[in-house]
Amino acid sequence: MNFIKRGFLGITRKKGKSLILLAVIFILGNLISGAISIQQATGNVESTIKERLGTAATIDIDYDEWDAMSESELESLEMEEISVDLIKQIGELSYVKYYDYSMSTWLGSESVESYHDEESDVDYIVEGPSTDFRLKGINYAPVIDFEEGKAELADGRVFTDDEIEKGTSVAIISQKLADENNLNVGDTFTLANDVYTYDEETGEDDIVNSRDVVLEIIGLFEPSEAKKETDENSDSGMMILTDDMDYHNTVYVPNEIVIDETQFNWEEYLKADEELAEMMEGEDESFEYYEPIYYLNNPEDIEAFTEEVKPLLPELYSVISASDQYDNIAGPIESMSKLAKYVLIVAVIATVLITGLVVLLFLRDRKRELGIYLSLGEKRSRVVGQILIEVMVVAVIGITLSLFSGNLLAQQVSDTMMKADDNQDEYFEEYYYEGINTDLTAEDVMDSYEVTLNSSYVLGFYGVGLVTILISTIIPLIYIVRLNPKKILM
C-alpha cells in the first residue's frame, strides 16, 4: 500500500470527486486544445506559405513612401541609384545563399524564329519593331533560375566564371526555341541589335543602325514541371500564356554582353537624336540599371536580412521580399492566431485557478486522511506525490479526451470564422518582381489552413496541459506541507 497505490485507490474509491475533477479538466482542456490547434494551424500556414513564396528578396523604391511625399519634397529629391558595390556588399551578408544582379534587353532576329504556342488560339499583335528575344544578363554563373528550380538544364552546360567575367558570346536558350529553329548545343545563332528612332511625322520607327550579336549555344533549358503546373492552375490564363512564351524566348547570356549591347544601342540612339543628346550633355550617362535578386538560406531570415540591409540603402529604397505579400494576404489568419493566443492565455489562467481551487477543496475534505499519513511517519514528499498522482492521472485522461474533442472544436470554430472572413471582399496589392513569386491569393492562404492532429500538436498540448495542471496543484501542495497532524487528529 505505498503512496502510488494509495493514489490510484484515491481515484477509484472517490469516483464522484474524480469525475468532477475530470469534467473540469476536460472542459478547460478543450479550450486549451482548441487554442493550440488554431495556433498551430495558423503557424503552419505562415511557414507553408512563406516556404511557397520562397526566400527571394530584391531592392527597390518604396512606392508607399514615394506616394506619401509631397510635391515639394519630390521636386527637391535627388534619387540615388543602387550601385554594384552596394549590391555585392548586401550579397556578402551571411543570410544570403546566392544572389545575382542583371540587366535585360530585347533584341530581334531575322534568322531565328521566336517560339509561339501553336496550341493556343490566342492571337496577339505586336506593334512596332520586332524584339522577340529577351537577353537576360547573368552574373551568377550557375544561373539562379536553374538553382531555384524555375527551369532545368535539359542539355549542355551552364556558364563558367571566366565566360561571365569576360563576357564571352555564349548563350543558354530554351529547348523549344532550339527545336523551333533546329538549333543544338554548339551551334551559333544571330540576333540583331537594331537602333530605332521614332519619326513623329510618319508615326513609324526608323532603323538608324544595327549590329549582329552572334552567340554560341552552350546549354538548353526547359521550364520546370512545378512552374508549368502553377501556371496551368492560375486563373490569369492570358497573362501566363504571354509569360510562358516570353520565358521560352529568353536567352541567358553573360551580363557583359547585355551591357555592351545596351551601351551600343544607347550611344547610337543619342547620335540619331540630337535633341536628346543635347539634353543629356553633362549628365551622368549611366545606362546601367540593375535589379538585384537575393536568395536567402531560410524564409525565417527575411526579417533579420531586411533589418540589416535597410541602413545600407539610399533614401526611399527598401527591401522587397516574397513574404511581404503574406502580410498583405494573411489578415484573417493573423486575427485568428491572435484570438487563439488570447484564448490560450485565458484558458491556462482559468485552468490554474479553477483546478487549483477544486483540488484544494477536495484536499480540505481529506485533511484527516492526510493527517493520518503524517502521524504514521509518512514523508511529506510522498503525501504530495500521492496527491499529484491522483490529480495527474485524472488530468492525463481529461487531457487525452480533450485532445481529440478540442481539435474537432477548433476545426468547427475556424471553419466558421474562415467563412465569415471569406464573405468580406478583400483587395490585395499585387506587384511583380523577377524571381519573386506573387501569384498568391487569400484563397491559397485559406486553403493551406488546416487543423490537424499531428505529433507537434499532441506534444504541445500535453506539455501545456500537464504543466498547467502541475502549476494548479502548487497551492494545494503548499497546504499539505503546512499540515500539522496533532492539530488534525488530537
Partner: protein
C-alpha cells in the same frame, strides 16, 4: 528504559504571560508494562502524549527513546519506525478496508516486515478479533469497537515496541472498553510491548501496571 521524558515544558503564550500545560515534567517507561496517565480534561495529558509520540515538540526538555533524543532520531522517522499511536476517534481512512488500513503503515515503515504483508495484516486483525470477512469491509461499515481494534492492529503493524493510546476507549461502551484493555495487557505482558494509555477513567488506571496522575501540568504517581 524504553522511553524517558526529561524536564518537559510546554506552554501557550497569552500576551506576555505563559500558560504552562506541562511544567518540568519528567517520566520514564519500561518495556513489558502497561501504563496509564490519568487526568481530567485540560490537565495536559493529551499534550504529554503528543510530545511522547513526536506529534508535537516541547518548548524545553527532551524525550529519549532507548536513550536517544527523538529530535535527533527525527520526529517523522521516530513515528515511522518506533511508535504506534492509537487515537480516541480511531482516525482510520474511511475509503479503505480494515486490512488496507493496516497495510498503510507497513508500506511507510523502514522496519523489517515479512514479505507477504497482506497475510500479516489479516493475521494481526484476526489476533485483535477482526475476522477476514470484516477485514475486507470498508472501516466505516464496522462498529466503534471494531474500528478501534483495527486502529490497534494498525499500531502494531510496524512491529514497534512502544504503543501510545489517547483515550482509546473514550467512544466505547463498558464491555468493549474491557476487551480493549485486555488486548493492551496482553500486548504488554505477553509480547513485551510498552503500552502507555492516556485516560480519564479510574477503572482503566486501576488495571494498569503503573499509573500516573497529571494535574495542572504536574505529574504525580497514582496509588
Amino acid at each position: 528504559m524504553i522511553l524517558e521524558a526529561k524536564d518537559l515544558n510546554y506552554y501557550y503564550q497569552d500576551g506576555e504571560q505563559r500558560r504552562y500545560i506541562l511544567k518540568d515534567t519528567s517520566i520514564s517507561f519500561e518495556k513489558g508494562k502497561f501504563y496509564t496517565i490519568l487526568g481530567q480534561s485540560g490537565s495536559g495529558k493529551t499534550t504529554l502524549l503528543s510530545l511522547l509520540s513526536a506529534l508535537d515538540s516541547p518548548h524545553s526538555g527532551e524525550v529519549l527513546f532507548n536513550g536517544d533524543d527523538i529530535k535527533k532520531i527525527g520526529y517523522e522517522k521516530y513515528r515511522r519506525n518506533n511508535v504506534g499511536i492509537i487515537f480516541q476517534s480511531y482516525n482510520l481512512i474511511p475509503t479503505f478496508t480494515a486490512v488496507e488500513n493496516v497495510l498503510v503503515p507497513m508500506s511507510i515503515t523502514e522496519n523489517e516486515i515479512p514479505e507477504d504483508t497482506k497475510t500479516v495484516a489479516y493475521n494481526l486483525l484476526d489476533y485483535i478479533g477482526i475476522v477476514k470477512n470484516k477485514a475486507d469491509r470498508l472501516v466505516n461499515r464496522l462498529s466503534g469497537g471494531e474500528q478501534q481494534r483495527v486502529a490497534i492492529a494498525r499500531a502494531l503493524a510496524t512491529n514497534v515496541e512502544l504503543i501510545l493510546a489517547d483515550e482509546p476507549t473514550g467512544n466505547l461502551d463498558e464491555e468493549m472498553e474491557q476487551e480493549i484493555i485486555e488486548i493492551f495487557k496482553k500486548l504488554a505482558h505477553e509480547h513485551g510491548k510498552c503500552v502507555i494509555v492516556v485516560t480519564h477513567s479510574n477503572e482503566i488506571a486501576l488495571q494498569s501496571d503503573q499509573a500516573f496522575r497529571l494535574r495542572k501540568g504536574v505529574l504525580t504517581s497514582y496509588e
